[in-house]
Protein backbone atom coordinates (compact mmCIF):
# COMPACT_ATOMS: atom_id res chain seq x y z
CA UNK A 1 0.00 0.00 0.00
CA UNK A 2 1.42 3.33 -1.11
CA UNK A 3 0.14 6.54 0.41
CA UNK A 4 1.13 10.17 0.38
CA UNK A 5 0.32 12.79 2.98
CA UNK A 6 0.24 16.45 1.99
CA UNK A 7 3.01 15.80 -0.49
CA UNK A 8 4.65 18.82 -2.04
CA UNK A 9 7.09 18.72 -4.95
CA UNK A 10 8.99 21.82 -5.98
CA UNK A 11 11.29 22.66 -8.83
CA UNK A 12 13.72 25.47 -8.18
CA UNK A 13 11.61 26.58 -5.20
CA UNK A 14 8.46 26.75 -7.31
CA UNK A 15 5.81 24.32 -6.03
CA UNK A 16 4.48 22.12 -8.82
CA UNK A 17 2.42 19.69 -6.79
CA UNK A 18 1.13 20.57 -3.37
CA UNK A 19 -1.04 19.08 -0.66
CA UNK A 20 -1.36 15.84 -2.52
CA UNK A 21 -2.75 12.97 -0.46
CA UNK A 22 -3.78 9.65 -1.91
CA UNK A 23 -3.81 6.00 -1.01
CA UNK A 24 -3.12 3.25 -3.50
CA UNK A 25 -3.91 -0.34 -2.49
CA UNK A 26 -3.25 -3.68 -4.11
CA UNK A 27 -4.91 -4.04 -7.52
CA UNK A 28 -5.40 -0.32 -7.97
CA UNK A 29 -4.19 2.03 -10.64
CA UNK A 30 -3.44 5.72 -10.32
CA UNK A 31 -3.60 7.70 -13.53
CA UNK A 32 -1.82 11.02 -13.23
CA UNK A 33 -2.93 13.48 -15.88
CA UNK A 34 -2.06 17.08 -16.55
CA UNK A 35 -0.89 19.30 -19.35
CA UNK A 36 2.75 19.48 -20.38
CA UNK A 37 4.86 20.83 -17.58
CA UNK A 38 2.25 20.35 -14.89
CA UNK A 39 4.60 18.19 -12.84
CA UNK A 40 3.74 14.58 -13.66
CA UNK A 41 7.34 13.49 -14.16
CA UNK A 42 8.40 15.37 -11.06
CA UNK A 43 5.73 13.66 -9.00
CA UNK A 44 6.64 10.18 -10.27
CA UNK A 45 10.33 10.66 -9.60
CA UNK A 46 9.52 11.82 -6.11
CA UNK A 47 7.41 8.72 -5.51
CA UNK A 48 10.43 6.66 -6.57
CA UNK A 49 12.66 8.53 -4.11
CA UNK A 50 14.79 9.77 -7.02
CA UNK A 51 13.84 13.39 -6.39
CA UNK A 52 13.37 14.78 -2.92
CA UNK A 53 10.04 16.10 -1.78
CA UNK A 54 9.91 19.51 -0.15
CA UNK A 55 7.15 18.69 2.31
CA UNK A 56 4.76 15.95 3.33
CA UNK A 57 5.42 12.25 3.50
CA UNK A 58 5.33 9.14 1.33
CA UNK A 59 4.58 5.84 3.07
CA UNK A 60 4.88 2.25 1.99
CA UNK A 61 2.63 -0.01 4.06
CA UNK A 62 2.50 2.69 6.66
CA UNK A 63 6.21 3.37 7.01
CA UNK A 64 7.94 6.42 5.57
CA UNK A 65 10.04 5.52 2.55
CA UNK A 66 12.98 7.43 3.98
CA UNK A 67 13.07 5.01 6.86
CA UNK A 68 12.70 2.03 4.52
CA UNK A 69 15.42 3.02 2.07
CA UNK A 70 16.57 -0.02 0.06
CA UNK A 71 13.72 -2.04 1.49
CA UNK A 72 11.26 0.24 -0.34
CA UNK A 73 13.23 0.16 -3.57
CA UNK A 74 13.09 -3.62 -3.49
CA UNK A 75 9.39 -3.43 -4.31
CA UNK A 76 9.52 -0.84 -7.03
CA UNK A 77 9.96 -0.79 -10.80
CA UNK A 78 10.26 2.54 -12.62
CA UNK A 79 10.22 3.23 -16.35
CA UNK A 80 10.81 6.90 -17.09
CA UNK A 81 11.11 9.03 -20.19
CA UNK A 82 14.45 7.40 -20.99
CA UNK A 83 14.83 3.75 -21.68
CA UNK A 84 17.79 2.73 -19.48
CA UNK A 85 19.28 0.55 -22.19
CA UNK A 86 22.93 -0.10 -22.83
CA UNK A 87 23.47 0.49 -26.53
CA UNK A 88 26.34 -1.98 -26.65
CA UNK A 89 24.42 -4.87 -25.18
CA UNK A 90 21.86 -6.90 -27.04
CA UNK A 91 18.22 -6.90 -26.00
CA UNK A 92 18.62 -10.16 -24.16
CA UNK A 93 21.74 -8.99 -22.33
CA UNK A 94 20.04 -5.80 -21.30
CA UNK A 95 17.28 -7.76 -19.63
CA UNK A 96 19.80 -10.09 -18.07
CA UNK A 97 21.57 -7.13 -16.51
CA UNK A 98 18.34 -5.65 -15.23
CA UNK A 99 17.37 -8.98 -13.69
CA UNK A 100 20.82 -9.57 -12.21
CA UNK A 101 20.62 -6.33 -10.32
CA UNK A 102 17.52 -7.17 -8.35
CA UNK A 103 16.99 -10.91 -8.52
CA UNK A 104 18.30 -14.13 -9.94
CA UNK A 105 18.58 -14.37 -13.69
CA UNK A 106 16.24 -16.82 -15.34
CA UNK A 107 17.04 -17.31 -19.02
CA UNK A 108 13.73 -18.90 -19.85
CA UNK A 109 11.78 -16.06 -18.25
CA UNK A 110 13.87 -13.59 -20.23
CA UNK A 111 13.18 -15.36 -23.48
CA UNK A 112 9.47 -15.53 -22.74
CA UNK A 113 9.35 -11.86 -21.93
CA UNK A 114 11.11 -10.98 -25.17
CA UNK A 115 8.58 -13.11 -27.00
CA UNK A 116 5.80 -11.31 -25.20
CA UNK A 117 6.91 -7.82 -26.29
CA UNK A 118 7.58 -9.06 -29.81
CA UNK A 119 11.36 -8.67 -29.79
CA UNK A 120 12.31 -12.33 -29.82
CA UNK A 121 13.74 -12.29 -33.34
CA UNK A 122 15.89 -9.21 -32.79
CA UNK A 123 16.98 -10.09 -29.27
CA UNK A 124 20.59 -10.39 -30.38
CA UNK A 125 20.98 -7.00 -32.01
CA UNK A 126 22.76 -4.33 -29.97
CA UNK A 127 20.14 -2.06 -28.44
CA UNK A 128 21.51 1.10 -29.99
CA UNK A 129 20.48 0.17 -33.51
CA UNK A 130 16.90 -0.55 -32.54
CA UNK A 131 14.18 1.87 -33.57
CA UNK A 132 12.64 4.25 -31.05
CA UNK A 133 9.64 1.99 -30.45
CA UNK A 134 11.69 -1.20 -30.25
CA UNK A 135 13.81 0.42 -27.54
CA UNK A 136 10.72 1.40 -25.66
CA UNK A 137 9.40 -2.15 -25.81
CA UNK A 138 12.69 -3.44 -24.48
CA UNK A 139 12.55 -0.99 -21.58
CA UNK A 140 9.02 -2.10 -20.77
CA UNK A 141 10.00 -5.76 -20.91
CA UNK A 142 11.68 -5.25 -17.53
CA UNK A 143 8.28 -4.92 -15.90
CA UNK A 144 6.90 -8.45 -16.24
CA UNK A 145 10.38 -9.86 -15.77
CA UNK A 146 11.20 -8.27 -12.44
CA UNK A 147 7.90 -9.02 -10.74
CA UNK A 148 7.80 -6.02 -8.44
CA UNK A 149 4.50 -5.08 -6.78
CA UNK A 150 4.67 -1.34 -7.51
CA UNK A 151 5.08 -0.08 -11.06
CA UNK A 152 5.72 3.60 -11.70
CA UNK A 153 5.43 4.38 -15.40
CA UNK A 154 6.00 7.74 -17.08
CA UNK A 155 4.26 7.79 -20.46
CA UNK A 156 4.97 4.17 -21.24
CA UNK A 157 2.80 4.27 -24.36
CA UNK A 158 4.87 6.82 -26.22
CA UNK A 159 6.51 5.58 -29.43
CA UNK A 160 4.65 2.26 -29.33
CA UNK A 161 2.79 0.99 -32.36
CA UNK A 162 -0.83 -0.07 -31.99
CA UNK A 163 -0.10 -3.73 -31.39
CA UNK A 164 2.42 -2.94 -28.67
CA UNK A 165 -0.05 -0.57 -27.02
CA UNK A 166 -2.40 -3.49 -26.69
CA UNK A 167 0.32 -5.75 -25.34
CA UNK A 168 1.17 -3.20 -22.69
CA UNK A 169 -2.46 -2.75 -21.72
CA UNK A 170 -2.69 -6.48 -21.18
CA UNK A 171 0.46 -6.48 -19.09
CA UNK A 172 -0.97 -3.76 -16.89
CA UNK A 173 -4.27 -5.60 -16.48
CA UNK A 174 -2.49 -8.81 -15.49
CA UNK A 175 -0.35 -7.00 -12.99
CA UNK A 176 -3.36 -5.47 -11.32
CA UNK A 177 -5.18 -8.78 -11.22
CA UNK A 178 -2.32 -10.35 -9.34
CA UNK A 179 -2.46 -7.62 -6.72
CA UNK A 180 0.03 -5.17 -8.16
CA UNK A 181 -0.13 -1.39 -7.99
CA UNK A 182 0.45 1.03 -10.83
CA UNK A 183 1.12 4.74 -10.99
CA UNK A 184 1.02 5.86 -14.60
CA UNK A 185 0.95 8.97 -16.77
CA UNK A 186 -0.37 9.07 -20.30
CA UNK A 187 -1.72 11.80 -22.51
CA UNK A 188 -4.06 9.44 -24.30
CA UNK A 189 -7.24 8.07 -22.79
CA UNK A 190 -7.27 4.36 -22.07
CA UNK A 191 -9.92 1.98 -20.90
CA UNK A 192 -8.04 0.66 -17.89
CA UNK A 193 -8.95 -2.88 -16.98
CA UNK A 194 -8.70 -2.23 -13.27
CA UNK A 195 -11.04 -2.69 -10.35
CA UNK A 196 -10.29 0.78 -9.01
CA UNK A 197 -8.85 3.63 -11.00
CA UNK A 198 -7.78 6.78 -9.20
CA UNK A 199 -7.21 9.84 -11.25
CA UNK A 200 -5.20 12.88 -10.28
CA UNK A 201 -5.36 15.92 -12.48
CA UNK A 202 -2.44 18.20 -11.81
CA UNK A 203 -3.96 21.04 -13.79
CA UNK A 204 -6.79 21.61 -11.36
Amino acid sequence: MLETLDLECTRADRPLVSNLSFTLSAGELLHVVGSNGSGKTTLLRTLCSLSRRSAGDIRWHGISIDALGDEYRRHLAYVGHSDALQGELSGEENLRVAAGLVGTVDSIAIRNTLERVGLRNIADLPAKILSQGQKRRLALARLPLLAKPLWILDEPFSALDTRSVRTLENLLAEHLQTGGMIVITSHQEHRWQAATVHRIDLDS
Binding site: D70, R74, D83, L101, T104
Partner: protein, 227 residues
Protein backbone atom coordinates in the same frame (compact mmCIF):
# COMPACT_ATOMS: atom_id res chain seq x y z
CA UNK B 1 12.62 -14.29 -8.02
CA UNK B 2 14.90 -14.31 -4.99
CA UNK B 3 16.76 -11.15 -4.18
CA UNK B 4 20.41 -11.85 -4.88
CA UNK B 5 22.98 -11.48 -2.16
CA UNK B 6 24.80 -8.19 -2.18
CA UNK B 7 27.90 -9.92 -3.42
CA UNK B 8 26.11 -11.42 -6.41
CA UNK B 9 24.63 -8.06 -7.35
CA UNK B 10 28.04 -6.37 -7.14
CA UNK B 11 29.57 -9.14 -9.20
CA UNK B 12 26.82 -8.74 -11.79
CA UNK B 13 27.57 -5.04 -12.05
CA UNK B 14 31.28 -5.74 -12.37
CA UNK B 15 30.78 -8.36 -15.05
CA UNK B 16 28.34 -6.19 -16.93
CA UNK B 17 30.84 -3.35 -17.15
CA UNK B 18 33.54 -5.72 -18.32
CA UNK B 19 31.25 -7.24 -20.94
CA UNK B 20 30.23 -3.89 -22.32
CA UNK B 21 33.81 -2.72 -22.53
CA UNK B 22 35.08 -5.89 -24.13
CA UNK B 23 32.25 -5.76 -26.62
CA UNK B 24 34.03 -2.65 -27.81
CA UNK B 25 37.64 -3.63 -27.59
CA UNK B 26 38.59 -0.12 -28.70
CA UNK B 27 37.26 1.06 -25.37
CA UNK B 28 40.00 -0.84 -23.64
CA UNK B 29 42.65 0.03 -26.18
CA UNK B 30 42.19 3.74 -26.43
CA UNK B 31 43.27 4.87 -22.95
CA UNK B 32 46.26 2.66 -23.41
CA UNK B 33 47.07 4.19 -26.77
CA UNK B 34 46.55 7.61 -25.29
CA UNK B 35 49.08 6.79 -22.58
CA UNK B 36 51.54 5.67 -25.25
CA UNK B 37 50.96 8.69 -27.43
CA UNK B 38 51.31 11.22 -24.63
CA UNK B 39 54.59 9.68 -23.59
CA UNK B 40 55.66 9.86 -27.24
CA UNK B 41 54.71 13.52 -27.49
CA UNK B 42 57.25 14.58 -24.89
CA UNK B 43 60.42 13.64 -26.71
CA UNK B 44 58.90 15.36 -29.74
CA UNK B 45 58.39 18.52 -27.76
CA UNK B 46 61.51 18.44 -25.65
CA UNK B 47 64.00 16.99 -28.06
CA UNK B 48 65.73 13.64 -28.31
CA UNK B 49 68.52 14.07 -25.78
CA UNK B 50 68.78 10.77 -23.90
CA UNK B 51 69.92 12.07 -20.51
CA UNK B 52 67.29 14.73 -20.33
CA UNK B 53 64.67 12.16 -21.28
CA UNK B 54 65.83 9.78 -18.60
CA UNK B 55 65.56 12.45 -15.90
CA UNK B 56 62.09 13.41 -17.06
CA UNK B 57 60.89 9.88 -17.61
CA UNK B 58 59.29 9.05 -14.22
CA UNK B 59 57.41 12.33 -14.17
CA UNK B 60 56.31 12.01 -17.78
CA UNK B 61 55.09 8.44 -17.41
CA UNK B 62 53.20 9.25 -14.22
CA UNK B 63 51.62 12.37 -15.65
CA UNK B 64 50.58 10.39 -18.72
CA UNK B 65 49.04 7.73 -16.46
CA UNK B 66 47.15 10.41 -14.57
CA UNK B 67 45.82 11.91 -17.76
CA UNK B 68 44.90 8.57 -19.32
CA UNK B 69 42.95 7.56 -16.22
CA UNK B 70 41.29 10.91 -16.02
CA UNK B 71 40.22 10.81 -19.64
CA UNK B 72 38.66 7.41 -19.25
CA UNK B 73 36.61 8.55 -16.26
CA UNK B 74 33.91 9.72 -18.62
CA UNK B 75 33.08 6.09 -19.28
CA UNK B 76 32.62 5.27 -15.61
CA UNK B 77 29.10 6.62 -15.18
CA UNK B 78 28.16 8.87 -18.05
CA UNK B 79 26.84 6.25 -20.47
CA UNK B 80 24.78 4.76 -17.68
CA UNK B 81 23.56 8.20 -16.77
CA UNK B 82 22.58 9.22 -20.27
CA UNK B 83 20.46 6.16 -20.92
CA UNK B 84 18.84 5.98 -17.49
CA UNK B 85 20.65 2.87 -16.25
CA UNK B 86 22.07 4.81 -13.35
CA UNK B 87 18.58 5.57 -12.09
CA UNK B 88 17.91 1.86 -12.12
CA UNK B 89 21.12 1.26 -10.21
CA UNK B 90 20.14 3.85 -7.64
CA UNK B 91 16.78 2.09 -7.33
CA UNK B 92 18.39 -1.31 -6.76
CA UNK B 93 17.81 -2.66 -3.27
CA UNK B 94 21.52 -2.67 -2.37
CA UNK B 95 23.86 -0.15 -0.79
CA UNK B 96 24.91 2.08 -3.67
CA UNK B 97 28.53 2.49 -2.45
CA UNK B 98 29.16 -1.19 -2.98
CA UNK B 99 27.77 -1.13 -6.50
CA UNK B 100 29.97 1.89 -7.12
CA UNK B 101 32.98 0.00 -5.83
CA UNK B 102 32.19 -2.79 -8.27
CA UNK B 103 32.09 -0.29 -11.12
CA UNK B 104 35.37 1.26 -10.00
CA UNK B 105 37.02 -2.15 -9.91
CA UNK B 106 35.86 -2.81 -13.45
CA UNK B 107 37.21 0.58 -14.47
CA UNK B 108 40.60 -0.18 -12.99
CA UNK B 109 40.81 -3.59 -14.62
CA UNK B 110 40.04 -1.94 -17.94
CA UNK B 111 42.33 1.07 -17.71
CA UNK B 112 44.75 0.93 -14.78
CA UNK B 113 45.89 -2.62 -15.24
CA UNK B 114 46.73 -2.25 -18.95
CA UNK B 115 48.71 0.89 -18.14
CA UNK B 116 50.75 -1.02 -15.60
CA UNK B 117 51.36 -3.78 -18.12
CA UNK B 118 52.43 -1.31 -20.77
CA UNK B 119 54.76 0.76 -18.61
CA UNK B 120 57.95 -1.33 -18.94
CA UNK B 121 57.93 -0.77 -22.69
CA UNK B 122 57.75 2.98 -22.23
CA UNK B 123 60.44 2.86 -19.58
CA UNK B 124 62.63 1.20 -22.19
CA UNK B 125 61.85 3.86 -24.78
CA UNK B 126 62.76 6.62 -22.36
CA UNK B 127 65.98 4.90 -21.26
CA UNK B 128 65.04 4.27 -17.63
CA UNK B 129 67.60 2.30 -15.62
CA UNK B 130 66.69 -1.35 -15.12
CA UNK B 131 66.48 -0.96 -11.33
CA UNK B 132 63.91 1.82 -11.77
CA UNK B 133 61.71 -0.42 -13.86
CA UNK B 134 60.48 -2.62 -11.01
CA UNK B 135 59.78 0.43 -8.86
CA UNK B 136 57.84 2.05 -11.67
CA UNK B 137 55.63 -1.01 -12.06
CA UNK B 138 55.06 -1.28 -8.29
CA UNK B 139 54.15 2.36 -7.87
CA UNK B 140 51.74 2.19 -10.79
CA UNK B 141 50.20 -0.98 -9.40
CA UNK B 142 49.55 0.74 -6.08
CA UNK B 143 48.72 4.14 -7.50
CA UNK B 144 46.41 3.52 -10.44
CA UNK B 145 43.60 2.01 -8.31
CA UNK B 146 43.68 5.16 -6.20
CA UNK B 147 43.36 7.18 -9.39
CA UNK B 148 40.25 5.22 -10.35
CA UNK B 149 38.78 5.56 -6.86
CA UNK B 150 39.33 9.29 -6.54
CA UNK B 151 38.26 9.75 -10.12
CA UNK B 152 34.92 8.13 -9.45
CA UNK B 153 34.03 10.97 -7.11
CA UNK B 154 34.80 13.57 -9.73
CA UNK B 155 32.98 11.62 -12.41
CA UNK B 156 29.90 11.32 -10.22
CA UNK B 157 29.88 15.00 -9.37
CA UNK B 158 30.09 16.17 -12.97
CA UNK B 159 27.44 13.85 -14.37
CA UNK B 160 25.16 15.50 -16.83
CA UNK B 161 26.95 18.80 -16.68
CA UNK B 162 27.92 20.38 -19.94
CA UNK B 163 31.65 20.38 -20.47
CA UNK B 164 31.78 17.57 -17.93
CA UNK B 165 34.83 16.05 -19.57
CA UNK B 166 37.03 19.03 -18.85
CA UNK B 167 35.38 19.91 -15.58
CA UNK B 168 36.14 16.50 -14.18
CA UNK B 169 39.82 17.05 -14.83
CA UNK B 170 39.67 20.23 -12.86
CA UNK B 171 38.14 18.49 -9.87
CA UNK B 172 40.23 15.39 -10.02
CA UNK B 173 43.74 16.44 -11.01
CA UNK B 174 44.40 18.41 -7.81
CA UNK B 175 43.36 15.34 -5.83
CA UNK B 176 45.80 13.31 -7.84
CA UNK B 177 48.87 15.37 -6.99
CA UNK B 178 49.96 13.48 -3.86
CA UNK B 179 49.91 10.24 -5.79
CA UNK B 180 51.90 11.80 -8.58
CA UNK B 181 54.48 13.19 -6.17
CA UNK B 182 55.05 9.94 -4.33
CA UNK B 183 54.74 7.74 -7.40
CA UNK B 184 57.17 9.67 -9.55
CA UNK B 185 59.30 10.46 -6.50
CA UNK B 186 59.84 6.79 -5.77
CA UNK B 187 61.04 6.09 -9.30
CA UNK B 188 63.32 9.11 -9.37
CA UNK B 189 64.80 8.13 -6.02
CA UNK B 190 65.78 4.77 -7.43
CA UNK B 191 67.78 6.52 -10.14
CA UNK B 192 70.22 7.55 -7.43
CA UNK B 193 70.11 4.11 -5.87
CA UNK B 194 68.02 5.41 -2.96
CA UNK B 195 65.42 3.37 -1.18
CA UNK B 196 61.78 3.92 -2.20
CA UNK B 197 60.09 2.04 0.62
CA UNK B 198 58.68 5.08 2.41
CA UNK B 199 57.07 6.26 -0.81
CA UNK B 200 55.59 2.86 -1.48
CA UNK B 201 54.04 2.49 1.96
CA UNK B 202 52.47 5.90 1.62
CA UNK B 203 50.95 4.86 -1.70
CA UNK B 204 49.62 1.69 -0.07
CA UNK B 205 48.06 3.78 2.69
CA UNK B 206 46.37 5.99 0.08
CA UNK B 207 45.01 2.88 -1.57
CA UNK B 208 43.43 1.55 1.60
CA UNK B 209 41.96 4.90 2.55
CA UNK B 210 40.62 5.39 -0.96
CA UNK B 211 39.01 1.96 -1.13
CA UNK B 212 37.22 2.59 2.15
CA UNK B 213 36.03 6.16 1.69
CA UNK B 214 35.85 6.99 -2.02
CA UNK B 215 32.86 4.75 -2.84
CA UNK B 216 30.75 6.44 -0.18
CA UNK B 217 31.59 9.86 -1.46
CA UNK B 218 30.95 8.80 -5.06
CA UNK B 219 27.60 7.23 -4.15
CA UNK B 220 26.52 10.38 -2.36
CA UNK B 221 27.57 12.42 -5.39
CA UNK B 222 25.59 10.13 -7.66
CA UNK B 223 22.41 10.59 -5.64
CA UNK B 224 22.89 14.34 -5.86
CA UNK B 225 23.42 14.21 -9.62
CA UNK B 226 20.28 12.15 -10.09
CA UNK B 227 18.02 14.44 -8.03
Amino acid sequence: MNPPSLFTAARNVFMRDLTIALRRSTDVLTPLMFFLIVVTLFPLGVGPEANLLRTMAPGVIWVAALLATMLSLGRLFSNDYADGTLEQLALAPHPLPLLVLAKVCAHWVLTGLPLVAMSPLLALQLNLEPRQMATLVTTLLLGTPVLSLLGSIGAALTLGLRGGGVLVSLLVLPLYTPILIFGAGAVSARAFGLDAEAHLSLLAAFLILGAVFAPWAAAAALRISLD
